[in-house]
Amino acid sequence: MNAVGPSAVGPSAVGQSVARADGPLKLSGQAEFTGDLRVPGMLYGAILHSPVAHARIGSVDATAAEKADGVVAVLTAGDLSDLDPYYGHALRDRPVVALGKVRFAGEPVAVVAAESQAAADAAVARIDIEYDELPVAAGLDAALSPGAPLVHEKRARPGSAHGLGDLPDADGNICYSYSFRRGDLGRAFDDAAVVVEGEYTFPAVYQYAMETHTTIAHWQGGELTLWSSCQHPFLVRQEIAVLFGLPLDQVRIIVPFLGGGFGSKSYTKMEPLTAAIARKAGRPVRILNAVHESMITTRRHNMTARMRTAAAADGTLLGRVAEAWLDTGAYADNGPRVTATAGDAAPGPYRWQAVQVAAHCVYTNTGPAGSYRAFGATHLQWIGESQVDEVARRLGLDRLEIRRKNLLRPGEEVRPGGKPLDADLIGDVEKAAAAIGWPEPPAPARPAKLRGKGVSVGLLAAGAHPVSMATVRMGPDGSVTVLVGTTELGQGARTVMAQIAAGVLQADVARVVVRGTDTRYTPYDRSTGASRSTTVAGLAVQRAAQDVLNSLLETAAARLEAPPQLLTPVAGGIQDASGRTMTHAELVRARFGFDGGELLGHGRVQPEGGSGSYAEGPVFWEVCVAGAEVEVDTETGVITVLRTSTVADVGQAINPQLVARQDEGATLQGLGNALFEEMVFAPDGALLNDTLLSYRIPAFRDIPATMRCSIVENGDGPGPFGAKGCGEGALAAVPAAIVNALADAGVPMNTLPLTPERVWRRMRELKIS
């Protein structure tokens, strides 16, 4: 590789903007994604999707499809009779293909495997299914109304990784509720000088990882290999093993590069269906989703919410009541966890006398909803923060000052029994505000334009379950390989893991290699999400590298005949007090003789005391802090985001450039979520905008003129070198800052996205012209 970009060796590898290790492969088109692989004998799969949102399945006739040219196998529900065919990590509510009835338009009903994609696509149209249509509950209002059709008649069993404690019985279409109440609510509201309340709506959003969900399944001698675009290979392995009745070590999951994830590839997606059709075909099969298929594979929950906030005349926040209903679609996926996280985000990071929160996860006859970057926090932060701003406005207080007055300080309790606050929120929001020129008012707007500024602060429970393992290998030439189960989905995990190992070993970071996960060889890692990789998997890598370093020191002590405490790791080797140095290669060879052997180091992160439950957590609090300045056109309702600021409070940036890139990407996604992204479902449950022509994501032209990311390094993270994760918070914070900036311009809004029509209508209501 050419010497390109900033680079560093040895201890300075940590904290340096080392060039991405995967850059050259990706820049030359050589990086392999799942869809680029060809397994010998591989067939191409096509899915028959239900045309209706809710129906009993009558007769199924696949004979014409089975006889079609090039077709090797057709899978229908009848082929699953030897399995318990339900999966779902939170609730085991989803059959591999629709069984008995369909619950959303687009639900897979059958799968064809054929010699070519064209043959498979053609054969799907020849499968004959009878549907006996049922009343449809599309959307929250329909699903929550009295006498609403039930999406699931029976309560599903809990899944293997729900982490939610005891699950109560289902209540109509509500499959899970999360609630808490603290303090004397009556008193808090009785004492209030001002009470702000409102009803709010958040849209369904498509994550749009540009690489759609792709899986190849291959059975050999009863063992199953999956190549899959998945973020959590070890959790997928677990679910697949249970589903097909296999020991864990007979399910092998290989994860090539991912073309984005953002939560859309978390947990189990296309793997059960692909494995099932490959089992029937007796040959490897690939399923590669089209965009319209990925949109109904997973999405962000749409939500309605009510909130009330009470404050004293001096701006002291007293009480908050919030209730939210999140539409999880026809299957729970990660909906219960999203719901609980939304509930935790409802109070915001403030000191309350009393709070009461309830959040409900609701089945509807639409495509399933699961994880999307900063879930829960994105749903609630804009609501809570808009109420804080409204309190300040009514009391004539500065909106930054009311936050200084009420924000939690480091060490204060965020929720009972959980981790206290581990970040300086006041310092963070001051940085975000300063970066948009606070307290200066917005520059005078041009004719027919209004301008405003806003900030927002929130917290996101990050780290998920703290279990990660890593192995570091050092060969007799001094080269280092890190085996760690974190998925590279674009965030730069492989680069950062290499920096951590290089930092411990004082090795040249260019000699440290991190490859993709193969569950057959890579040690367990729980998941890639919740901003946990650097913090949790990174800590395992740090410990594994330290284990190798200990072996190096041991050998050096023997060879240099020096007491270990007088040995120092130096770039690429170990040095004694007199300055004699042995290189890593010399030490490995000295230990084993000739050119053989390798040093193996193991690192493990597991719950330290307690059970590692979510209630005891989180691993750390990710801050969600942003500022925004917007301009709205009073004639058209079009909003232009002029500038944004975000704060990445990361303890220690392992790679500052990659930290900033995370915030920039999250900012643009937040801008899209706030301004125009919305999946539209018809009352009959059909997704109306299922292409990129009608579902728009941010493009080059949408970049704010200024996007500033401030990196805060207080060394207060639980990860390696005091690091903690980042990358999600900005997505929760930016929509809230935009909403607050728009209200500052005179246009308070309770419904996202802030489409021109919606904003224009609101301005007419408010007699703004």
Partner: protein, 155 residues
């Protein structure tokens, strides 16, 4: 039905039969094994399938393989190793303008066409000209910084 075509792909002549309805993207990926062009939106919006045909960027997901008859096709595999690619890759690396990498080859090929058309370093013009290439990871700023640098250097 098939059509006989004679074309050049990354400088290598191709002569043979292609199904009349085969898309250029599938021809490149499945027949020639050139997987640097990716499939995503399939409706000519996202730009990850961008390749150059006689120097013009096209969405190979919406372009028939038969229509390359008599033309020259350049993909990322052909661009790699060129002087333009070396400078572009250097800028993308320094600005960390690559994340998942799924959009990257399309970005580079569009940029090459823009350079050939004489577009220089004006950021607004570049942003407008790049409207057919989406990226969900980066927030675009680092790509724009890279492109502004590359295009301003292209005399």
């Amino acid at each position: 039905m098939t059509e006989t075509i004679r074309a050049t792909v990354n400088g290598t002549p191709f002569e043979g039969e292609v199904p009349a309805q085969e898309l250029l993207l599938d021809f490149l990926r499945d027949r020639l094994g050139l997987t640097g062009a990716k499939q995503s939106c399939e409706v000519q919006v996202c730009g990850v399938c961008t390749v150059l045909v006689d120097g013009d960027p096209v969405s190979s997901c919406c372009y028939l393989a038969a229509d390359i008859d008599g033309r020259e096709v350049e993909t990322i595999e052909g661009l790699a190793g060129s002087d333009f690619h070396r400078r572009a890759a250097d800028a993308f690396m320094r600005h960390a303008a690559v994340q998942c990498g799924f959009c990257t080859s399309g970005m580079l090929l569009t940029a090459k066409a823009l350079a050939a058309r004489g577009l220089r370093g004006d950021r607004d013009e570049i942003a407008a000209a790049m409207s057919g290439n989406l990226c969900r990871c980066t927030g675009y700023v680092s790509i724009l910084d890279s492109l502004a640098e590359i295009l301003s250097e292209t005399a």
